[in-house]
């Protein structure tokens, strides 16, 4: 009789050499765990299935594909929600390609008329303010997705990844809005690896990321670094490494790593319930501690 010993996973890794190897996980195991999580949550919630926004990018494609494998394509609905200003036929094509490959339904809804009505209704609307305008697009998509969720008794499966959420690189109450976020403990480059593992086409899995708030926007340009580097910085911060250690290992200046750390820490307000004043016995977001769901 022998005892089986298995290799220690990254979860408990303490030997920190910041190379891309450190972000490799046991992808079949990760896939299995995420699929079990989606299946279990859908079953316990009593929902018919999941609805997701599909951008044609790696995160939403991977979340949708995993959902489809987990609960069956007939219970997954992908909403492709293009709008005139950032419309790229390749995005729609990629989203449809993923839907076909993983056997779930996808619908295209042009949200341009909604956005135009929205802009027109706001007396202070300023088209040159790209961020404020872009956030309207993202929140409009969230509203559409939740309409389908309510109407069809589905839960909303988010596709935020750990890199974006740690950096606060998302729209508050926009693309982050979801009931579950099965990819949120994986960095962007890890999502890409998982995507390739499950068979998301490489042109989707490796396509450069964009939040598509305005035409031509890219994550790299805005964040100043590739996710290959950002993810290693974030990985080091997650494991309590000092800024100077990270900078030295990655051959970066301390200022660059410090700015990523600062970005992470100053965006906590985007990751929590709104802050309130502690007035009473138990306070929402402060000391109410309850299970996420109950049977």
């Amino acid at each position: 009789m022998t005892v089986e010993f298995i290799l220690f996973t990254q979860l408990t890794a303490i030997d920190l050499r910041l190379t891309s190897d450190i972000l490799k996980l046991d992808w079949p195991y990760v896939e299995e765990r995420i699929e079990r999580f989606i299946k279990d949550y859908v079953r316990r919630s009593g929902a018919f299935g999941v609805v997701l926004g599909l951008s044609g990018g790696v995160d939403s494609s991977t979340a949708a594909a995993l959902s489809s494998i987990a609960i069956g394509g007939d219970k997954v609905l992908g909403l492709i929600l293009p709008e005139g200003e950032t419309y790229d036929p390749a995005d729609v094509q990629n989203a449809k390609l993923v839907a076909d490959r993983f056997g779930f339904r996808a619908e295209v809804i042009d949200i341009t008329p909604v956005l135009n009505a929205f802009y027109k209704a706001l007396p202070i609307f300023d088209s040159s303010d790209k961020i404020s305008k872009g956030n309207v697009k993202v929140r409009t998509r969230a509203a559409c997705i939740y309409y389908y969720a309510n109407k069809l008794n589905m839960i909303v499966c988010g596709s935020s990844d750990k890199s974006e959420v740690m950096l606060g690189y998302f729209t508050k109450w926009g693309d982050i809005a979801a009931d579950i976020a099965p990819l949120m403990d994986l960095y962007k480059t890890q999502v890409r690896q998982l995507a390739l593992h499950i068979g998301v086409p490489p042109e989707v899995a490796l396509r450069p990321s964009t939040p598509a708030l305005w035409p031509g926007q890219t994550a790299k340009e805005e964040l100043g670094l590739d996710y290959d580097v950002l993810d290693l910085i974030l990985y080091g911060l997650e494991r309590f490494m000092r800024v100077d250690e990270i900078a030295e290992q990655l051959g970066l200046s301390v200022e660059v790593v410090e700015s990523v750390k600062r970005r992470w820490l100053t965006r906590e307000h985007k990751r929590r319930m709104p802050l309130t004043v502690k007035l009473e016995y138990r306070t929402i977001g402060a000391d109410f501690r309850l299970p996420y769901t109950l049977p």
């Binding site: 009789m1 079990r36 279990d40 109410f288 109950l294």
Partner: protein, 276 residues
């Protein structure tokens, strides 16, 4: 008694729903004893599920108390020994709760063990809710001398050591261990058996609670660290393994880890751990 049949009842609990969890456990006691089990072991906090957080204040109950009584009926009816986990309310002081393992037998309630080491790091927040117990527990039963521990206790060799020195032949560790901790338990369960020349039964939860995926993998380990039986990962399972106490002597002749124990070092250990 020479050989006993031990059932590892690896279950998925409904969070906060004592009624359904107790019903499920009763049915499993029935099934396990039908299959020949004499001792049926359930995971940590099996009456309530693990991630109950503030609900613990309404779910905790006296031991013996209502849930214990329901389980006692089944133990009596099936002539079985049963171990399960429960949040226990102190009978003396309001607001004091323990993370407790209960032992029942064919004649009803036998005793309980209160978890000594309460993990409060990472995703664990047990010290926020529970008071630690004060001592290890070993029960002399017709099925042998049983030592009870709970989950994180296994990281501390003194717990099983003290049980063994008080005579425990079968160390029972009930657990709610989420994925990511599996490697630790797979090593430590074997280590605790080997270093104490004792059998060890480890019973873990399965299912997902608040994103924590409990990995199962319950097992019965012999006194040289070998697997007697091992349950599935991640799914409910009910396995019966045999403990033959005759192996204890053979193991302790082969690797006499208890005979060779140095009390002088333990005294020094105690002194050295006073201040860190």
């Amino acid at each position: 008694m020479r050989g006993i049949n031990v059932a590892l009842a690896q279950i998925d609990c409904e969070v906060g729903d004592k009624e359904s969890n107790v019903e499920k456990m009763k049915a499993i006691v029935k099934e396990a004893t039908k299959r020949g089990a004499q001792l049926v072991i359930f995971p940590e906090l099996s009456t309530t599920g693990y991630v109950i957080r503030d609900l613990v204040y309404e779910l905790a109950e006296l031991v013996p108390g209502p849930s214990t009584s329901l389980m006692e009926e089944e133990a009596k009816g099936c002539r079985a020994y049963v171990i399960f986990g429960i949040p226990e309310r102190s009978e003396r002081v309001e607001g004091v709760i323990y993370n407790t393992a209960v032992l029942l037998g064919p004649d009803g309630y036998i005793g309980k063990y209160r978890k000594l080491y309460l993990p409060t790091h990472g995703v664990f927040e047990e010290k926020r809710y529970f008071r630690p117990g004060g001592d290890v527990s070993v029960f002399d039963t017709p099925l042998g001398r049983l030592g009870l521990m709970i989950c994180y206790d296994i990281f501390f060799p003194e717990v099983s050591r003290l049980m063994r020195l008080r005579g425990a032949q079968l160390i029972v560790c009930i657990s709610a261990s989420p994925a990511g901790r599996r490697e630790f338990f797979e090593v430590l369960t074997a280590a605790r058996a080997i270093e104490n020349n004792a059998f060890l039964a480890y019973v873990n939860l399965v299912g997902i609670e608040d994103g924590l995926e409990f990995w199962g993998g319950s097992r019965l380990i012999n006194p040289i660290g070998g697997l007697v039986v091992k349950a599935k990962y991640d799914e409910e399972d009910l396995l019966i393994g045999q403990v033959d106490y005759a192996d204890l002597e053979r193991a302790s002749i082969a690797v006499p880890t208890v005979r060779d124990l140095r009390a002088d070092l333990l005294r020094r250990l105690s002194e050295a751990s006073e201040v860190l």
